[in-house]
């Protein structure tokens, strides 16, 4: 006799994870290398500032919004921050996730307590719902939104919600919910290289290029 | 089951914290006791409520004790581990707690009855007692002769 939930969990931990990680790593490298190989022409204009330094600097400074911009799109900005920070806390500071990272790459750090993680996850979910709401109500965001955006939204909210349910045993079998949580994360991993989730990696490249273009001119970025 | 926290540091703080935790189940249980008492008086039906069968926190326990109060009868039974039987301040309402030989709680009940069954001498035990008494008397007689 078999426990179908356990089999699902073991599939999620075994072949499911193997497939997802393979696609994630392969896909990520493919997308990034594809961009890098495309390369750009050497800029022959005599630089006024330092393109490399400003490029590197911009990777970080662009995380801070321009003065006054928050009030132009408060939900997008604040929701965006809360989602990203909340997701990062929930992902990086839960003991079970740290154990996973430790197993993958052999580094670890202290865990946060459940109350903090759950608050972060809950806020991230609320932020995602608010962001979805502006995708529907804000004419610009509505016009820009494609199927890809909704897919990414769904893939981002699912691990948060299923993780919360699995840890707190809100409903369903604990093993099943844990398996579903893992599968939802694996869906995120699989979709990552093929969707706008790629921004989580290529944002650094984009910001670097932007910073280096502006930096060469001695202009702000 | 009581939670056994090995770390004293955490244990104290946690126990303190837990004594304030309530699940809100005390009130319904008290209502059930009221109904059971009415029934007992009406047709003599006894009722047993299993406190282990529903979420019951330290706060609920305190409320139950506070409302029911202390009664006149308390008995300690030694039955492969201790058992505690107490009549509450409401006659007819009894608290029965069973512990194992290590002092861990096995089960907790509220019984609404005139006399809990477990306090009564059991016919089978009395039969054994009769045999035992007879044997002892025989032994006593043997010694005197």
């Amino acid at each position: 006799m078999n426990n179908p939930y356990f089999d699902l969990l073991m599939w999620a931990r075994g072949p499911g994870f193997d497939i997802a990680l393979t696609i994630l790593i392969g896909g990520l490298l493919l997308r990034v290398v594809e961009i890098v190989v495309l390369s750009r022409k050497k800029d022959l204009a005599k630089p006024k500032g330092s393109p490399v330094l400003q490029g590197l600097k911009t990777i970080f400074t662009r995380s801070v919004p321009r003065k006054g911009l928050i009030k132009e799109a408060p939900v997008t900005y604040i929701g965006g921050y809360i989602f990203h920070i909340g997701f990062a806390i929930a992902f990086l500071f839960l003991g079970a996730h740290i154990a996973l990272i430790d197993d993958l790459i052999g580094i670890q750090w202290p865990e946060a307590n459940k109350a903090l993680i759950e608050t972060a996850a809950a806020l991230a979910v609320v932020a995602l719902i608010a962001l979805a709401w502006t995708r529907i109500t804000n004419p610009v965001r509505r016009a820009l939104t494609t199927f890809d955006d909704w897919l990414v939204w769904l893939l981002s909210i699912l691990p948060l919600v299923t993780g919360y349910i699995a840890v707190n045993r809100i409903f369903g079998d604990g093993t099943l919910m844990m398996a579903i949580h893992m599968l939802s994360a694996e869906a995120l991993m699989v979709a990552f290289p093929f969707t706008k989730l790629m921004h989580a990696v290529t944002f650094a490249m984009a910001r670097y290029y932007n910073g280096s273009i502006q930096g060469r001119k001695g202009a702000e970025s | 089951m009581s939670i056994d926290l090995r770390s004293a540091r955490h244990g104290h703080a946690l126990a303190e914290l837990k004594s304030h935790v309530s699940t809100g189940n005390a009130r319904p249980v008290l209502n059930e006791i009221l109904a059971a008492l009415e029934k007992l008086l009406a047709d003599g039906t006894a009722t047993t409520i299993d406190l282990g069968a529903l979420p019951f926190a330290a706060g609920d326990e305190r409320m139950l004790d506070a409302v029911l109060g202390k009664g006149e009868v308390a008995a300690t039974l030694e039955l492969s581990g201790r058992s505690q039987v107490e009549e509450t301040g409401i006659p007819g309402v009894w608290r029965i707690d069973h512990y194992d030989p290590n002092g861990e709680t096995l089960s907790r009940f509220v019984e609404v009855t005139f006399l809990p069954e477990i306090l009564k001498s059991q016919r089978e035990d009395a039969e054994t007692g009769l045999t035992r008494l007879a044997a002892r008397l025989e032994e006593l007689d043997g010694q005197t002769h």
Binding site: A45, V140, A143, L144, T202, Y208, Y209, Q214, A219 | -
Partner: protein, 421 residues
């Protein structure tokens, strides 16, 4: 030869490189670029969202520069670009974008949207979708040396007038001087105070300079319309003149896109670095002031504010220089909100000002500047781009605000130059 859809698509293909690929990969369609765009903010039309203006180029990238996109288009899922698409996008790429680059600075993932608009115009122009006015300007500039036609005679007359006004001789085509001075057509035709100001300032500072008959025009319609072949030809005229005269540097005048074209795009257009320097006139004036070679006397007491030209400040890095110069000659200088790097565009740059179809958009966009000028109670607006200057004049009049005076910073410095010291 004629412009065709295929030539346009081909031009787009040539423009896609690693930065473009990283930008399109990173966009999460958050829509924040719209909040930075003067055309969206003043019209509320979501079509004008900056990143949306690049959608055709995004399709080329996706369909042809990504393996997944290639697979998708093989399955018939890639949206092919049609002539109709290009026509529809004219309004987005030419009429409602000055390539001011505000969006570039607010994009959270760092997409240089303005740079991509510049690239997208390559495809638009090669496929025959550039605005007629810009095409005409490009033809005139190529054929006669200036977008306003043949200005040699007019230039000669202006030089003569300046010599007469200042008593300083201005020698054309003089080899071995420090700087080759370029002018924008606008300055030759519309703003006559520039030449005399330059003559007096340079004489005082001991800077030698000349103007070339073969390349005096600083502007570059090729850069505005988005065509590198044309842009290369136009830059080559100036570079050829500078090299022939053996100058140490070229002075880029008060013109936004001219500075971009000469200073930043030029070497890449001609495929080699310059042996001379390109300096913006305001940069040079600031440098001279720092060296003590530029002294002023007296101050302007009117309540004045400064309008930052996008291509010179935000996309050119010249921000503090004009303010240091203004502080020398004005004592009632007040900044508008967002002044400096995040200044709002006048709405006339990037060829929009020359585009009749964009007149209404331009008018609406200027409401932003109008509110800002009113907000600080400006009596005078100083700028450092002749085309901004021109747009300010035009729009202030259209918005019934022509009581506000406008002036180029170089002219203003000339006005307060201390001739005696």
């Amino acid at each position: 030869m004629t412009a065709t859809l295929e030539r346009g698509l081909n031009a787009l293909r040539e423009q896609i490189d690693a930065p473009v690929a990283s930008f399109f990969t990173s966009c999460v369609s958050c829509g924040l670029c719209a909040e930075a765009c003067i055309f969206y903010k003043e019209t509320g039309d979501p079509e004008l969202t900056p990143i949306h203006k690049l959608d055709l180029m995004r399709r080329v990238w996706s369909n042809e520069y990504t393996l997944f996109g290639r697979a998708k288009s093989m399955l018939g899922m890639g949206h092919k670009i049609t002539e109709g698409d290009l026509t529809k996008w004219e309004r987005l790429v030419y009429d409602s974008c000055t390539m001011c680059g505000r969006c570039t600075l607010v994009c959270p993932v760092g997409n240089d949207i303005a740079m991509m608009i510049r690239k997208m115009r390559e495809g638009m122009s090669s496929s025959g979708h550039a605005p007629a006015e810009l095409v005409g300007a490009a033809e005139r500039h190529s054929d006669y040396g200036s977008p306003m036609g043949k200005l040699h005679t007019m230039l000669a007359a202006k030089i003569k007038a300046a010599e007469k006004e200042t008593g300083i001789p201005i020698e054309m085509d003089k080899a071995g001087v420090d700087y080759l001075v370029l002018l924008s057509a606008q300055e030759i035709v519309e703003y006559s105070d520039v030449l005399p100001a330059l003559a007096r300032i340079f004489k005082k500072a001991g800077v030698t300079w000349t103007i070339s008959n073969e390349g005096f025009e600083a502007t570059n319609v090729g850069v505005q319309i988005g065509n590198r072949d044309i842009a290369r030809n136009l830059v080559s005229m100036v570079v050829g003149a500078a090299e022939k005269l053996g100058v140490k540097g070229i002075i880029s005048p008060e013109c936004g896109h001219a500075y971009q074209a000469l200073r930043w795009e030029g070497p890449n257009l001609i495929g080699r670095s310059y042996d001379f320097e390109v300096v913006h006139i305001i940069e040079l004036l600031d440098r001279l002031a720092a060296q003590g070679k530029l002294k002023t006397k007296g101050k302007d007491h009117t309540r004045l504010t400064f309008h930052d030209p996008c291509q010179i400040n935000r996309r050119g890095g010249i921000n503090k220089e004009p303010r240091r110069l203004l502080d020398m000659v004005a004592d009632n200088f007040i900044e508008t909100e967002d002044a400096g790097t995040m200044n709002w565009c006048c709405g006339g740059g990037g060829g929009v000002g020359a585009n009749d179809r964009a007149a209404d958009l331009r008018f609406k966009a200027f409401n932003r500047k109008k509110r800002q000028f009113e907000g600080v109670g400006a009596e005078k607006v100083v700028t450092m781009c002749a085309y901004c200057h021109h747009t300010l004049d035009e729009q202030l009049e259209l918005h019934n605000m022509d009581s506000i005076e406008t002036q180029g910073l170089t002219e203003m410095i000339g006005e307060y130059l201390d001739d005696e010291a």
